[in-house]
Amino acid sequence: MKDKLRNYFRTKMGKILCAFLIFFIVATSAFGMAVTVTNYQMLMPMIQKMVTQVITQKIQSVWNEEVRIKLEAGKLNTKVVTFLNYDMSPAIKNMVSDYMVNDTGAFSTASGKLYNDMAKSKAQLSLPLAGSDFLQFQKKAREVSILIAGAPGGGTAKMKHFSTADFAALKLRDVFNQASVAAYQRAAHGTYVAEKFRSELSAFSPSAFDSGKSDQAVKDLAKLTYYNAMLQSEILAVISQGEMRQALEGK
């Protein structure tokens, strides 16, 4: 058997086969060595680039998700909070600076028709209701304000024999009446705003904060703080207007 194999390798075919075998062994080893050693310098930057790319993409996707969460709107829907839309300031200004100067007061020579009609009216008396329509509310507050303002004095013709003290008292009474009207209207506005705030904000359940994300809660916290600031500013306006009136009252 051994001789048979030895004889086979001595043949032309056996030798060619041996040559090919040696060639493949050497070539394979050369290629293997070349890939492992020679391209190592090229392999590292390539891997570095690929790893960096993958990690960057991952960081970007995580960050995008984080940004998306941060941009989610709060749970408190500001569209249903309307108490800030009701403003009586222009009406109060008109009442005090226009009506109180031209249509009533000691120095006014107006007929006082509006006041007379209001006083004699047989219509049922009613308070400005905070739960009613805003225009209706404003109308009712104005009616009461006209009664508070009183009748026009008829001008200076009646004040021929007035002393300086009389004039001072007259002017103070006029200013006091203006302050009374302003205080009444501002306070009426305060009741309306307070009622709107209560009805709108009490409809919102605070448990909604628990079901949302803390980022949303922070946004809602900012909104609520803003609303509270507006409410406090209204409290300040009502109290200060009332205190001004009380100071003029001289008690």
Binding site: F31, E195, R198, P206
Partner: protein, 207 residues
Amino acid sequence: MIMKLRFGTQSKLILAFVSMILLYGLVRDSLGIEPCPAVAETTLAQKAAQWVTAFQKPYCNYLESYSASMVKQKLDSGIFHQALNASQIFKVSGAIGECDGSSALSRLSVRIKLNNPTVAEMTSAKLRALRAGTAITAYASGKKAFAMASQVDSALSGFVPASFDFTSKQQTQKDAAKLTHLRGLIQSQELRLASLTKMLDSLDEGR
């Protein structure tokens, strides 16, 4: 002899061929030329993919778990559960005390009966009625607000503010929002009462 000669020639040829191949590889290597581009690129890509997977997996897993834990923290509920009951106290239909004042005023206005009254007398009577109606509204509102304040007080009495020291920032943020909401509702009643008091004052004849 012939066999020996033929075998020697063939061996030399094979040796020369092998040497040429090895020399060729050596020259390419020293010149920095890739030995076998087709094979090398495939192998490199495979190797790179393996390395990338090895690197990216733990890092991406860490990022994902970190992100998930962050979201979970954001979703944690607050500890101030009393806020719900306390805010429910302010849920009433219609403005507080308004019905009492309105009905009193309508009863009072029917009673205003003056014989040949002057405008000033009519005004005075109407203002008195309005004052009474406003006073009743203010009293009813005050009574109700006082009851609300007591209810809020008892709803919040079980809560210990030091509990916030043991909660996460996210939970505290949620509870801060609840407290601000409740504070707004309380302040709205404060405004309403202050306004009614000032309305009542304004109806005084004064000077």
